[in-house]
């Protein structure tokens, strides 16, 4: 079946095998390779994308449910040499090590900051609780969110 969505602010028709096919598989088949598979059980957050601005684990999210909705993947943020504020903050604070969890982390951060540009540390921790990282110990990731929030605030 086909579904009509907006991916990264562009109208996009996605071919899906059936309503419940995981969104992750559909996105990756359509060459949005930024979302990563980490567990296929909705437990690690490496596959997080935003659907209408809310973070979802795309590995267990039925692609059919995105019909008529807006999907944001990591490809919808900055590009090399033209990073967005969150991505830049992640690099400057050392929040990226292996980078496998990074797309999901960055998108969960975006979902948080879009609705709350001055999060407390506890709010940051809660927002990123579904994104597992084994490299960083999360310290620098939380630093990155704080730095990005500071810059968000300046421009908003």
């Amino acid at each position: 079946m086909k579904i009509e969505t907006t991916v990264n602010e562009q109208k996009k028709e996605l071919n899906v095998k059936n309503y419940t096919e995981p969104l992750l598989d559909v996105l990756r088949r359509h060459n949005y390779l930024g979302a990563k598979e980490g567990c296929r059980q909705g437990q690690c957050g490496a596959c997080v994308v935003l659907v209408n601005g809310l973070p979802v684990n795309s590995c267990i999210y039925p692609a059919g449910r995105t019909n008529g909705k807006k999907i944001t993947t990591i490809e919808g943020l900055g590009k090399p040499n033209n990073l967005d504020k969150i991505q830049q903050a992640y690099l400057e604070t050392g929040a990226v090590q292996c980078g496998y969890c990074t797309p999901g982390m960055v998108l969960s951060t975006k979902a948080l900051l879009d609705k709350n540009s001055m999060p407390t540390e506890d709010e940051i921790k809660l927002a990123l609780d579904g994104n597992l990282c084994r490299c960083t110990g999360y310290v620098k990731i939380i630093d990155a969110v704080k730095l990005a929030a500071k810059r968000y605030k300046k421009t908003s």
Partner: protein
């Protein structure tokens, strides 16, 4: 201390691969989609120990879309080890790509390559296997018993080095070291403590599971794109296991999603290669999360019997450490992990009488392999708790006592020479040690003297604990790393290194080191690493070696390149070499200056044309230890037994931190992994040896909500044998949390825990035991 005014080193440069990673570019193995690529799936053993009597794949083969089904009948019967170590490996050759016997629940039975994953899974269901079920060993204490079943009864199993290996008795490694007369010294000690410590299984859980893709290039050579820490060992071991020449194989490591030792294992590459050969098509195999838990590799559980003797003046008279190590069903890293438990712990304490012995046994349980810390994590668990107990027994403050008992700069330990990587070690004097400063700063940061040994009542009680540690930097006289470099017209440089960046940032570290030598900027380096066709050799990312070892290879290479740059500049400026110096990508003489770009253009196009380039290798004669002191504060809920970490401080001496933010990141990542291991990570087995919790719901790893206040303190020293004074930092941090948390729990509630992890049930039982 040498000149520490650096322009590139000691700066928190942004990772050279950072932009690609943070924008989600297709840089991981799973992002390389090759047209027509097949998907592989593996049939796993449901039994802990069984022989395959009959296996019928005919139905599976007939399924439309199935391109290959492999069983033991279809692969060469060549024994090898999956341990990605130097050759010959000090691990037994006890593995086959597929075998007619299965040795744990989750062992391989057969493999399928098909057009889709769904078809491959369906094909697995169509394979019929008749098993002769054998008695299984599910407790390492039973492995050496008389009449125990023999797990490796195949005639091919052997150790490629002259080391003790006795598979008939289920012993895959053994060590026995005696220095001085520990038995006598123990008798003459004023204080003696002996206890047994039990430390558990765990999985690395890289967020990217094991994944490899193999295909044939236009020349018929096999290309393996794989998530590995050891690309050159992959090439050699695949060649051996399939009996094909090294020349026919190219291994490429792209970006990889974490390793932590799990990918120092040549685990799935031989199987993927076999499937590619059978189908003559590209094949990708990716472990599911559950397969990663059950069928990849784990930390080696150990039962450690530790006995220490101390004199009235607080000096150690003897240490007697005896270990029973469970390696699971195959012997990967068996001996070297065991050796490391001794060699990374015993030299830290000034002591002339040492007994260190142990057996590594096979069991019918998941297979162990390299895991960050590599035996030292296990050893410090025992030693760290016993130190705490001993300090109480002799009535000293452990913080002050630790300052007295540890090895100092200029000193040596007989253990260095006696114990190496499965063989004798290498003698060394400590040439840098900032441990006293680590202890001092760590104690201050945790506010030790305000918090220690406070009498408390009430439900929630707090306590603090500490430990001191060392690790190593590389394996002396064994490990080798190499680099190659060439100069381009615009004054940029290609830096080609075998060193394997598994997310640690080593590509960036190497760029900083090269730029420092060349008096240019890190940003001028184009780093390409870990491709067996294009980069020079490197043993890979393990044994805390990359910065220390491969970094020196980069220094040597850059120095040669610099000599060539100066020579061309001398010709251009018509000045003698001794007049010249390089600064800010420019060579300055007495009469003038030329930029690196001008020099490169001159050398490529103008006169005496040649490519400015060089390559160098490096081995080390020492393994200088980084040192660290860890301090932690916990709150114990005496009603439920739940332990919450309030604050954790890791003070670490890694010499010069080439990239401080990365060094902190290594420490924080290691510490949090260690805390998670100490408090909640565990394998739960049923009575048939099946792991019951292979997912993140029931095998909990720490998330942001579990993060305590975590403070890293880098204590700079200068290691004269390291690149710009650097030592290692990647592993040491994981060793602290187990003993620190155990000691802090004791400080809070007065109950000792000798069995990790410290889950609420165990903590509660320990509290109840002392209340009785």
């Amino acid at each position: 201390m040498a000149n520490t005014k650096f322009s590139q080193v000691g700066k928190s440069k942004i990772k050279v691969d950072g932009q690609a990673l943070v924008t989600g570019q297709p840089v991981f193995v799973g992002d390389f989609i090759i047209p027509g690529m097949l998907w592989a799936k593996v049939l796993w053993s449901p039994h802990a120990h069984a022989r395959i009597k009959k296996i019928d794949t005919s139905k599976a083969e007939k399924l439309p879309g199935v391109k290959a089904v492999l069983t033991y009948k279809d692969v060469p019967r060549i024994p090898f080890t999956t341990a990605g170590q130097g050759a010959p490996e000090p691990s037994p050759y006890d593995s086959f790509i597929l075998d007619n016997k299965v040795r744990f629940v989750g062992d391989r039975v057969a493999a399928v390559a098909a057009e889709t994953e769904e078809i491959a899974n369906e094909a697995l269901r169509q394979i019929k296997v008749d098993y002769e079920i054998l008695e299984a060993i599910l407790d390492p204490k039973n492995s050496r018993k008389k009449n125990a079943p023999v797990i490796h009864d195949e005639k091919e199993a052997h150790m490629p080095l002259p080391l003790k290996y006795d598979p008939k008795k289920n012993i895959c490694a053994h060590i026995d070291i005696k220095i001085g007369d520990a038995e006598k010294a123990l008798k003459e000690s004023d204080y003696v403590i002996e206890h047994e410590y039990d430390i558990h299984y765990a999985q690395h859980t890289p967020i990217e599971t094991h994944i490899s893709t193999a295909y044939f290039d236009v020349h018929g050579r096999m290309v393996i794109i794989t998530s590995t820490q050891v690309p050159f060992h992959v090439r050699r071991i695949v060649a051996r296991s399939l009996n094909i020449p090294v020349q026919k194989i190219r291994v490429i490591k792209p970006r990889i999603g974490g390793g932590f030792g799990a990918k120092q294992e040549v685990l799935i590459e031989p199987l993927v290669a076999a499937l590619a050969m059978k189908t003559n098509q590209a094949v990708c195999l990716k472990y599911t999360r559950s397969e990663e838990f059950v069928s990849s590799r784990c930390r080696h559980p150990q039962i450690i019997n530790l006995k220490t003797g101390v004199k009235k003046d607080g000096t150690f008279s003897a240490i007697d450490m005896r270990i029973l190590q469970n390696n699971g069903a195959y012997g990967s890293h068996s001996l070297t992990i065991l050796c490391n438990t001794g060699s990374k712990i015993l030299p830290l304490f000034k002591c002339k009488n040492v007994i260190f012995n142990g057996d590594v046994v096979y069991t019918n349980l998941p297979v162990c392999g390299a895991y960050r810390g590599y035996g030292a994590t296990e050893g410090y668990f025992a030693m760290g708790i016993q130190l705490d107990e001993m300090a109480d027994k002799i009535g000293v403050d452990i913080v002050n006592w630790c300052k007295k008992i540890h090895i100092k700069e200029g000193e040596t330990s007989p253990v260095f020479a006696a114990l190496g990587e499965g063989v004798e070690g290498v003698e060394q004097n400590i040439s840098s040690c900032g441990l006293d400063k680590c202890i001092e700063l760590g104690a201050k940061e945790i506010n030790w003297y305000q918090k220690r040994r406070k009498k408390q009542t009430g439900r929630y009680r707090r306590g603090v604990g500490m430990v001191i540690m060392m690790q190593g930097s590389s394996i002396p006289e064994i490990d080798m790393g190499a680099a190659f470099m060439k100069m381009n017209e615009d004054g940029s440089f290609n830096l080609l290194i075998g060193a394997t960046d598994l997310g640690t940032g080593s590509d960036t570290i190497m760029a900083q080191i090269a730029a420092e030598v060349l008096a240019t900027e890190t940003e001028k380096m184009i780093v390409y690493s870990s491709d067996t066709d294009l980069t020079p050799f490197d043993v890979g990312a393990y044994a805390s070696s990359t910065t220390y070892l491969s970094g020196q290879a980069v220094i040597k290479t850059a120095q040669k390149v610099k000599e060539q740059i100066l020579k061309v500049a001398a010709e251009m400026l018509k000045e003698p070499l001794e007049n010249l110096k390089a600064e800010h990508s420019t060579v300055i003489g007495k009469n003038g200056k030329v930029t690196f770009s001008e020099i490169a253009n001159y050398s490529l196009y103008t006169k005496h044309q040649h490519q400015i380039m060089a390559g160098e290798s490096h081995i080390t004669h020492k393994s200088p230890p980084p040192f660290s002191a860890h301090f932690g504060e916990v709150e114990v809920d005496t009603l439920t037994g739940k332990v919450r970490v309030i604050k954790y401080v890791a003070a670490v001496d890694c010499g010069t931190a080439i990239n401080p933010i990365s060094a902190e990141g290594q420490t924080e990542g290691a510490v949090l992994n260690g805390l998670s291991y100490a408090l909640c990570e565990r394998y739960i087995f049923n009575e048939k040896g099946k792991m019951l919790n292979p997912n993140f719901n029931y095998y909990k790893i720490f998330s942001t909500m579990d993060l305590p206040e975590l403070k890293t303190i880098l204590v700079p020293t200068y290691e004269p044998t390291g690149p710009f004074g650097a030592k290692s930092v990647s592993e040491i941090g994981i060793n602290g949390p187990c003993p620190v948390i155990a000691n802090a729990i004791y400080d809070a509630v007065g109950a000792r825990l000798y069995n990790a992890p410290f889950t609420p049930d165990k903590v509660l039982a320990a509290i109840k035991k002392i209340a009785r």
